[in-house]
């Protein structure tokens, strides 16, 4: 049955909801108010800005894909394991969230650096990860993965295993069940997870700065460009604000497109 759209949310709750929305929107309005309109176009259309934007979008997309590839299995494993194991796994997954990104960057540097065992092995194969675009993707994946996993896991648990059983009872194999039942039913969580993941990857700064460095065209993503512009003593902060807006508008556009890919919820 089509439910009454509004559901049964007490109407008083509109007030805190609006407060919450204001908290999120007003700072942005304040930011936009400071935009230096005359130089805005020049700032956002500079080749550096565009190359940083492209790099951000590209690495963000790759990192999100990587997160989906390893994060969806991880979420499935956590959602379908017993309460003890699930609690431990969830705690492990939460770690990169708690860690200030900068420390995460140091940790990645320690792991993949030349002096580490792994870095040494990779180095012998002629692979060096720090200062490359790969490092950017790795750093973004590291910080963004937990979002995908935790959001999806919540939805998977809410959905339960009833429909999976029904599908199995109809003779569907595990992969069919996964692709046709489990993931579509958990799609609100999956979409939320992908959005969180992509947004976090795009906005990632600290870990990238330390692990990948700040080389224009190779590792200088938008946040690094913004930070550089902000820190630049000679440069006005207008550039930083302009770049931030550019990043914002692009990211929102991408996310709206992603949502449009599957507009309805399954129920």
């Amino acid at each position: 049955m089509t439910p009454a759209r509004a559901g049964f949310v007490p109407q008083v709750l509109l007030i805190p909801a609006i407060v919450g929305l204001a908290l999120l929107v007003l700072p942005l309005a304040a930011l936009v108010a400071r935009v230096d309109w005359p130089t805005l176009w020049a700032d956002v259309s500079s080749p550096e800005a565009l190359s940083a934007l492209l790099l951000s979008l590209g690495t963000g997309a790759v990192a999100t894909t990587a997160c989906v590839l390893v994060g969806v299995p991880l979420a499935l494993v956590i959602a379908r394991s017993g309460p003890r194991l699930a609690a431990v796994l969830r705690a492990v997954v939460t770690v990169p969230l708690v860690l200030p990104p900068m420390v995460g960057g140091v940790a990645l540097l320690f792991l993949f650096g030349r002096t580490s065992w792994l870095g040494g092995v990779l180095g012998e194969w002629g692979l060096r990860i720090p200062f490359t675009t790969t490092a950017v993707v790795l750093a973004q994946t590291f910080v963004a993965l937990p979002f995908l996993v935790l959001a999806l896991e919540g939805s998977l648990r809410t959905t339960g295993t009833g429909y999976e059983q029904a599908a199995a009872a109809l003779g569907a194999g595990r992969w069919t069940i996964l692709g046709r039942v489990t993931l579509p039913l958990a799609s609100p969580g999956l979409v939320a997870g992908i959005v969180l993941c992509f947004a976090r990857a795009i906005g990632e700064f600290g870990a990238t700065a330390l692990f990948a460095g700040n080389s224009p065209g190779v590792t200088q993503t938008m946040p690094l460009a913004i930070y550089t512009a902000f820190n630049g003593a000679g440069v006005s902060q207008g550039t930083a604000v302009a770049l931030a807006l550019l990043l914002l508008v692009t990211a929102i556009a991408v996310l709206l497109l992603v949502r449009a890919w599957r507009p309805g919820s399954p129920r």
Binding site: Q165, A169, L170, G171, G173
Partner: protein, 379 residues
């Protein structure tokens, strides 16, 4: 594709509940599974489908062992068993249309999309849902959903089909039509099937054999008509719509309290002193009001010297039925069917005199089920 034999002994524990039942079906045979609510029917079917692990026992489909309680590694995945279950809560996929739901099974078995689509269309038509294929389950009525679920299960053409109460929530007209479809499909594909149902009509129409399950144990098994005419337990009698009163054979007569009936030549299977059940139709009992003021007197007076086939009881409850009125009396618990106007003046608590002709009664030996923890069949 035609059915395979099924041969299973299933032991499953669920909290305090323990299911220990053997069930078998020849290739192409349809077996009805009946039992009171909570008897373990759904658990049995889920175990056969591979959704529940066996504690003990073994399940064979054809000549393959697909599950074994002893050897844990022997658990064949549901999808590899060629056993399909329509479970009690239909669980239509909410994100798929009715058409996609029906095509799900064939598609999962690797049938190409165009063929599966055509099959789904045909199934929609067969269950009377032509033109509703593009609706989501939430946009269908309860009975329409149930029909999609039946079509979804039947469209898979498995070796063994397990149906858990397929025809509930269908009105008589639609139910008749769907039962005909089910019957025809099972017969034409010679699918082995086990159908859990609460309705004797469905059991007779669809199945050759019947298994009665009570509190996790099989209490009766045999041809459907045999069970309906000779119910071994109170539950089976209720399914058959019969009264069943347990008593004892004494002096070549059947006795229970003050009630005594001649065995009328049916004494071949009944040993002297053994427990036996008297089975008779509610319509076979004659009922007469006894004056309330003389009730206690009557009871006392008649005690021990009632005529054969006569006893006095109180009305417990009156219930309207399509044919008239059903009067529930006690002791013993006996239902009596009356014409609508014959029940005038009856009310709960009113004493009545009941009369039963020996020729309308079948006497059956009471057999306690083998399992130690099985329940005593009730009168």
């Amino acid at each position: 594709m035609s059915g395979e034999t099924l041969d299973a002994h299933v032991v499953v524990r669920r909290g305090v509940f323990r299911l220990d039942a053997a069930i078998a079906a020849d290739a192409g045979e349809v077996v009805a599974l009946m039992g009171p609510s909570g008897a373990g029917k759904s658990t049995l079917l889920a175990a056969l489908a591979g959704l529940v692990r066996l504690a003990e026992g073994e399940i064979r489909v054809g000549d393959r062992i697909v599950d074994s309680g002893a050897r844990r590694r022997m658990h064949v995945q549901p999808s590899a068993r060629r056993v399909v279950l329509l479970s009690q809560d239909a669980r239509l996929f909410p994100h798929l249309t009715a058409h996609e739901n029906i095509a799900f099974g064939p598609r999962a078995q690797g049938i190409v999309a165009s063929v599966a689509d055509a099959e789904a269309d045909e199934w929609l038509w067969r269950v009377g849902l032509d033109g509703m294929g593009r609706r989501r389950p939430a946009e269908l009525s309860g009975g329409q959903q149930q029909r999609v679920a039946i079509a979804r299960a039947l469209a898979t053409t498995p070796a063994v089909l397990l149906l858990d109460e397929p025809l509930t929530s269908l009105d008589p007209e639609t139910g008749d039509a769907v039962r005909a479809v089910l019957q025809e499909q099972l017969a034409s594909t010679r699918t082995t099937a086990i159908v859990a149902t609460h309705d004797a009509v469905d059991a007779v129409a669809l199945a050759h054999r019947m298994v009665v399950l009570e509190e996790g144990v099989v209490t009766q098994e045999g041809a459907v008509r045999d069970i309906l005419s000779s119910p071994a337990t109170g539950f089976a009698a209720a399914v058959a719509g019969l009264n069943r009163v347990t008593g004892r054979v004494a002096d070549g007569r059947w006795e229970r309290g003050g009630l005594s009936l001649g065995l009328g030549g049916q004494d071949d299977e009944l040993r002297e002193g053994a427990e036996a059940a008297a089975v008779f139709r509610p319509g076979a009992v004659r009922l007469e009001r006894v004056d309330a003021t003389t009730w206690t007197g009557t009871l006392r007076l008649t005690a021990g010297r009632e005529a054969a086939g006569e006893w006095v009881a109180r009305v417990v409850r009156l219930e309207q039925t399509p044919a008239g009125v059903r009067v529930h009396t006690d002791p013993p618990v006996v239902a009596v069917d009356l014409a609508p106007d014959a029940a005038l003046g009856l009310a709960p608590g009113v004493p009545v005199q009941l009369r039963l002709a020996e020729t309308n009664v079948r006497f059956l030996p009471v057999v306690r089920p083998a399992s130690a923890d099985a329940p005593a069949p009730e009168s």
